[in-house]
Assembly symmetry: C2
Homo-oligomer: 444 residues x 2
């Protein structure tokens, strides 16, 4: 992997003169692949213009198709360290909860070096999978001292060194279960109070200068955050213009505990107490009741689905048709990073539904097409959930792209009209030729 054009990132000229003019064989604009399209990128790393532009092409992307870079709306980068582990079940079948035990063991061993290396490894694999923005849902804040938030900067540094755009979704985590104290590995996740959490958030914000890094807020889950505090965090996120993410209803056990304590499932509780908007993202919603989901979606809330992780953990399948019926904003995340492939996430979001419903064509757009709808989830919808101007090749968005190798064996013989479907349903990471993050290129 080598990077070119890094100088663009440091030369932030207010004049925004055109720095680069790209032309690929095919470019994904307005929901289809088009030929003879040029993309102008300014010196600040933003798209300046798209179309039949005059000027000298600075980079001819021969034999390539240009797509908006994929947006990974939910990741725990350090969990890359669990890959291949926890797949032996000596006492019979396992569950999310036995997996969580293995995750806590990893947490217990984590130091700064390991945190950096695992995070960087995950971010580099993401780039190679066509992901240009990661929403890093970051809850492992502390080293063995169980205080100090040392790992927050480590994650930001790993992202910067890898070259990926990051929205650090910084997590507030207060309880080890509803009304229970933190225990064991959880002590490394905790903030002593909402104000300590906000102080650290604002301190991070103050030293965040790079154009490829921004912040979002997180209430980890109803297990880890009392509903009163979710309400406060929501208000604080509004004040700061930041997105707010939360794990919601991934596991039935979590729902049961919430009903026991609050007399409502988590989603109903959110609908009642929190001002849900397009800045709110509920991650998973695997077991959400249809009526709760309807209210949440009507308020504009986003849902992040993580097909590979939810399959690995045996969570179950969310009610995607209900979400799409409400024109809900569904995005995608690689979550545990046991496998990093956005193309595989896309197709298995659809395939899980096909298997359950025993029909084909669940995630369709108005024209009845599946692949463009899945791509939208992997790009625009993720960008909305993360509050970044990305996910589409259009003026004003970050110059974040993924290039596809049209000579890849998996795509051979595909006409322009079915190329995206061949890519989404029939190819893998080896079809990814390179990515561009804010004008900085990485070739694979």
């Amino acid at each position: 992997m080598y990077a070119t054009g890094g100088d663009i990132m440091t030369d932030i000229s207010s004049s925004r003169s055109i720095a680069q003019l790209y032309e690929a064989d095919l470019t994904w604009v307005d929901g289809r692949f088009q030929r003879d399209v040029r993309v102008a990128v300014d010196t600040a790393g933003r798209i300046e213009a798209v179309g039949a532009l005059d000027g000298n092409v600075t980079q001819q992307l021969k034999g390539k198709a240009l797509l908006p870079g994929f947006v990974n709306a939910h990741s725990h980068a350090f969990q890359r360290g669990l890959r291949g582990h926890g797949e032996t079940f000596v006492e019979g079948a396992g569950s999310f909860w036995t997996w969580r035990k293995a995750m806590y063991e990893l947490v217990g061993r984590m130091d700064e070096t390991m945190m950096y290396e695992l995070s960087r490894q995950a971010f580099e694999e993401m780039l190679a999978a066509g992901i240009t923005t990661v929403g890093e849902f970051h809850y492992l804040h502390h080293d063995a001292s169980e205080a100090g938030f040392a790992f927050d900067d480590v994650v930001l540094r790993a992202a910067a060194d890898a070259g990926i755009r990051i929205v650090l979704l910084n997590a507030y985590y207060a309880t080890g279960g509803i009304g229970e104290p933190l225990q064991g590995g959880q002590l490394r996740f905790g903030s002593r109070s909402v104000s300590e959490y906000l102080d650290q958030l604002d301190a991070l914000a103050a030293r965040m200068t790079s154009q490829t890094q921004s912040l979002g807020m997180v209430a980890h889950s109803i297990r880890a955050v009392p509903i009163e505090n979710v309400m406060i965090l929501q208000q604080e996120s509004d004040k700061r213009g930041m997105v707010l993410h939360m794990h919601v209803e991934e596991q039935q056990e979590e729902i049961n505990a919430c009903v026991d304590h609050y007399h409502h499932p988590p989603m109903a509780l959110l609908n009642e107490h929190v001002a849900v908007s397009s800045r709110f993202t509920a991650v998973h919603c695997t077991h959400s009741a249809a009526a709760d989901l309807d209210l949440y979606l009507e308020a504009g809330g986003n849902v992040c689905i993580c097909p590979l992780t939810e399959a690995n953990l045996g969570d179950g399948l969310a009610n995607i048709p209900r979400m799409l019926h409400h024109n809900g904003c569904v995005c995608l995340g690689t979550d545990s990073n046991a496998r990093i492939s956005m193309l595989e996430e896309m197709r298995w979001l659809e395939y899980g539904q096909r298997l359950q419903l025993q029909q084909r064509g669940v995630c369709v757009d108005d024209a009845g097409q599946v692949a463009p709808r899945l791509l939208e989830m992997a790009t625009l919808n993720g960008a909305r959930a993360l509050g970044v101007r990305a996910g589409a090749i259009r003026k004003g968005a970050w110059a974040d792209f993924v290039t596809i190798d049209l000579d890849n064996a998996a795509l051979r013989g595909s006409p322009d009209e079915s190329l995206l479907a061949a890519l989404v349903f029939g190819s893998g990471n080896d079809a990814i030729a390179g990515v561009c993050v804010g004008g900085r290129w990485f070739d694979f």
Copy 2:
């Protein structure tokens, strides 16, 4: 892609002197990765010995792990031509049956050149996915003349030119539905009689000289073959010592039609009328009743599951726990070849079950491990279903291997004990460094 050592294949010496001695960093023997293992391959392309062998290593597979080559027990190579097609649903959701219409359209356009090119393309992609043997379930026999079996040789030639080991599972196809005549595209599948089918089979057998090609028999499905003829085909396959494959209970509609006509579902009909043995393979069994499955498995029958295709077609999920409870021989196939990745097939066989059962660790071996059990399905079990001595690195088996690039980013940091799980759950085709088919190497 380039091939080396092709001369081994033509020098079939009866003395079987050792032609090659390989040593990889890690070799999969006796269900685990081991170091300091050498593999001796004779001039006929078979494994002569495995262990701490003396002699000069002719090929040091540095930075590689050596596994038995994957065995793809069910493929329709020409359907590679449908990749990316049929993924638009203008009239609402589709099904297996709307997909079949698209497949028949492709069939109607097929000529020898197209048949060769699509087949070769599929076989080359299989090699790049670590597949060294394909069971090609071949039912598209005729060109536009609707007679003459011209495509049988075309498929064999494409396999030979690609370099993959093929078991041509040659299909008998007689009816367009139970008791119905062939129609439209189906006329290209048909044999006028069982004896015409057998004559063609024996003619193919007589001119089959290559060590990488062999034949098996097929009764396409209960839709296409009257049960009396399935019985005859089974007896003829026994006489010839050939395996017999059949599509069984992929779709509820097929089961309903069978019950209407025969008063039993297909699997029950087979159990009653056909001498099921380890030479019989039922493909799919998606909707098989538990009791019918029990009888079938107790008689030694194999089941072939095709996770990616069954997901794409919205077939549903088979009762894998029931199959494994009977220690059933479950193997894997890439079927429609919409996507060719044996690693993805492996993990999604397990993941489909996890999603359905909401638990982790379904396909476990006696030690509670998932990855080795899935690998067994992708190697040994497939070899049994196809009747080839392959699927394991042991004396007497074909020298069919896949090498894994230990420097692949997805595998970085994996200790020997969890490497296979990292490979199966966390990597893709780009981790495949090369394959060896009967002593002939392909590097990617």
